[in-house]
């Protein structure tokens, strides 16, 4: 029996006349790495935005662990255990690397409406922030201003902040975008490690990376799901080869 962690049912999003996501019905299994691929403008990021609550769907439902989360705001969705990293780096540029992780980790307190005791004294948050730095490989950059870090490091921090919120399901929007090959390998290794005890939904253009860590694949074209299945099934799919894999160079 399969164990579904997240399910979308006829999920749609229109921007005026443009249908960015069109009747997307997908099952995501617990513990698996599920990659979503497709040419630019296929609606992959829109789908992630719908799942994370950054966008409100025009139609359809989203179930997370059997609970309807369709119109919940991003903060509630995050609190339920869905973490998300952004394609465009979305960090606190004026904070140090450590402070970025700190704010992320502090979000798991019951409430941050605490006014009296210094935040620094919260041992649990401190440990979590340090652990996150370690996990995303930025311990040596602890006190560097986030805006002064290299692009690749900012991307690593982006993932680290998501991890500091202790999510069960990770939504990763092009985690490798703009990274050098060295940094890419590190991040792929990190994702592989995370996949042991997390569920990952991954958008990525780097096909080598996708085929090396994904177990399930969904191909999207023009807002629709073209095909979904195991990596083998997708590789052998005639439709996918025609629309996407065959013309990969042009598409990306």
């Amino acid at each position: 029996m399969t164990d579904t962690i997240l399910r979308t049912d006829r999920l749609s999003k229109n921007f005026g006349g443009l249908i960015a996501a069109n009747n997307v019905s997908l099952n995501f299994e617990r513990g698996q790495v599920h990659a979503i691929i497709g040419p630019n403008g296929a609606g992959k990021t829109t789908l992630i935005n719908l799942l994370s609550g950054d966008l409100l769907p025009s139609d359809g439902t989203i179930l997370f662990n059997g609970k309807n989360i369709t119109s919940l705001p991003p903060d509630k969705i995050s609190q339920l255990g869905i973490g998300r990293s952004y394609q465009k780096t979305n960090i606190f540029a004026t904070f140090s690397c450590y402070e970025n992780c700190w704010v992320a980790a502090q979000s798991r307190l019951n409430t941050s409406m605490r006014f009296f005791r210094p935040a620094k004294k919260l041992k649990k948050v401190q440990d979590r922030a340090e652990m996150t730095l370690d996990l995303c490989g930025l311990s040596s950059r602890r006190d560097v201003l986030a805006s002064a870090m290299s692009y690749g490091e900012q991307r690593q921090l982006e993932i680290g902040m998501m991890l500091a919120t202790e999510p069960e399901l990770l939504l990763l929007d092009e985690p490798l975008a703009g990274m050098g090959s060295e940094e890419s390998l590190q991040v792929i290794e990190l994702l592989r490690r995370l996949s042991r005890d997390h569920t990952l939904i991954l958008i990525e253009h780097d096909m080598d990376a996708v085929f090396s860590i994904a177990e399930q694949l969904t191909v999207m074209v023009n807002g629709r799901v073209l095909e979904t299945g195991t990596v083998e099934q997708i590789r052998n799919s005639q439709a996918v080869q025609e629309v996407y894999l065959g013309v990969e160079e042009e598409a990306t």
Partner: protein, 318 residues
């Protein structure tokens, strides 16, 4: 500025303020009282502009409500009991900030500026056109608040020096309170909201709640300043809430340095001293005043280290 230098400078400034009445004439004690009240008002606004990233253009509304609460409740009273009057003013300002904030924080950027201005104007015209509350003439208070336990006078604000120390105490307490809040988990969240509101929300924080609480804290402290100004001058009128007053508070925060609690104190000194002493130099003092404000805005970032860092940070991010 290294932390130790800053602490020493602040302590030196505090000591000077504490001992000033021993040497200064009562005219200057009164002037200093006015400056410290304005500093408290601007400091409360800095919590919004400098730390939460909310540029409120209607902060004078809460300043005025603090003053009017005192004036309306006690205009005919023979004795103004501090323990009644002060909590009343704070509660009135807090309640107004809760209502105005609850609506305003749903907007951002220029819309937030406009909506807070609109609310302040509503309050302004309400009092301006209410004969019951003195209309544009305002309300006079003939007594200063007193603190009594039983029949024993603990603190009488009649004397200029007592009032001065009460204001200084309020300013220092507010400074310490805000410092504590900013170091606590709440403070981390609001400074993060200023840096990147969207990400704070994505990390699981109910952003609007934090913004609202910040707005209410700032409004309450503005109410405290308004209470002090009303009690000190003995006269409350609608101009307390005018948009000039809100604008001056913004100017003080910007000139003194946003995002530092001592900045608004410095800014208040600059503004009041310029306004008081420039007219003695020339009739065209406002020209001079404008010129100084412009040059400070242009050159300050280059000479002030903290500002300079922010300046470079911004250009790096972009």
């Amino acid at each position: 500025m290294p932390r130790i230098t800053r602490t020493l400078l602040l302590l030196a400034a505090l000591l000077t303020l504490v001992f000033f009445p021993l040497f200064g004439s009562s005219f200057y004690v009164g002037l200093l009282t006015r400056i410290l009240i304005l500093a408290l008002f601007a400091m409360s606004l800095d919590l919004l502009i400098g730390y939460t990233g909310l540029v409120s253009f209607g902060h004078a509304a809460f300043f005025g409500i603090g003053g009017y609460a005192l004036a309306i409740a006690f205009q005919d009273a023979a004795v103004i009991h501090l323990w009644q009057a002060l909590p009343l003013s704070l509660a009135a300002a807090a309640l107004a900030a809760l209502v105005v904030g609850w609506i305003s924080i749903r907007t951002s950027g220029i819309y937030f500026i406009m909506i807070t201005l609109a609310f302040a104007q509503m309050f302004f015209y309400f009092f301006f056109e209410s004969p019951r509350y003195g209309g544009d003439d305002g309300i006079f208070l003939f007594f200063k608040p007193v603190l009594m336990i039983g029949s024993a006078d603990i603190l009488h604000l009649d004397s200029e020096n007592n009032f001065y120390y009460f204001v200084l105490g309020s300013l220092v307490s507010s400074y310490l309170l805000l410092t504590m809040i900013l170091r606590a988990p709440f403070g981390k969240v609001i400074t993060a909201i200023k840096a990147n509101e969207h990400r704070v929300c994505a990390l699981g924080y109910a952003v609007n709640r934090y913004k609202l609480v910040s707005f209410v804290i700032a409004g309450t402290l503005a109410g405290l300043a308004g209470f002090l100004e009303g009690a000190h001058s003995g006269y409350i009128n609608p101009s307390y809430m005018s948009w000039h007053e809100s604008g001056i508070a913004i100017a003080i925060v910007v000139l003194g340095g946003m995002g530092t609690l001592y900045g608004p104190i410095v800014g208040a000194f600059i503004i009041v001293l310029l306004q008081d002493f420039l007219p003695s130099l020339t009739d065209h003092w406002q020209l001079l005043f404008g010129g100084i404000v412009i040059s400070v805005a242009l050159f300050y970032p280059m000479v002030r280290p903290a500002c300079c860092r922010d300046f470079m940070r911004c250009s790096e991010v972009k």
